[in-house]
Symmetry: C2
Subunit: 139 residues, 2 copies
Amino acid sequence: MTAIVTLLADDPLGAAREDLGPPLADSYHTAFDAIHADPNQCLVVAEDNGSVVGTLQLTLTPGLSRKGALRGTIEAVRVHATCRSRGLGARLIDWATDEASRRGCVLMQLTTDASRNAAHRFYDRLGFTPSHIGYKKLL
Amino acid sequence: MTAIVTLLADDPLGAAREDLGPPLADSYHTAFDAIHADPNQCLVVAEDNGSVVGTLQLTLTPGLSRKGALRGTIEAVRVHATCRSRGLGARLIDWATDEASRRGCVLMQLTTDASRNAAHRFYDRLGFTPSHIGYKKLL
């Protein structure tokens, strides 16, 4: 799990939001256990020679909208700095899309910070439509 | 449940996406059962004299990002046409925000279609920040 959090922190926005310790904060372990216990959460990593070089979380959400559609949501996509521009991000998104489809989702969605211009081009290329505005509020 | 689906369909975007029957499609019943069985889903309605006049779905998602933060996501917000501009939508969002906070969320998020200008003003007023772009892809 430390390898995943390290990826989350290795990012202009993530760096200020994570705390690598050591030791890693208990809150990460609590969250990992909750993800692991929830069949609607899929936290995956990409490995290269035994090293974690990419991650994303796929969440399946049942809802009544769109004739009771199950939707997939992708969060926390990261690829290690040394492995970028080699198609690994696209493979992660393709995996998530296939898995969501296999489990009955009719829609895949994600949000990305408005400042991540490279990410916008990436999702455009993968066939996603920037049709929505994503709002956040800290509680 | 028919009352909730009727609200979802009573909307410029929703009208083309729902199917009120009768009878209501089995897929709505399947989705309702999945929502009901999942402790991370809260599907709520607002009632006025026994009539369903508003609805939203709150989803709690555990994740490693932001020090293992639990996040709340709001989807499928609707208020009956005859009850708009009376603060009911704000009360629904406030309820979801309080409930998410009570259950340990540190962040609330939602996306709204880029064409819903009135919704953008609504969420701005409620203290949400339009910091993200929301991407969708039909599977």
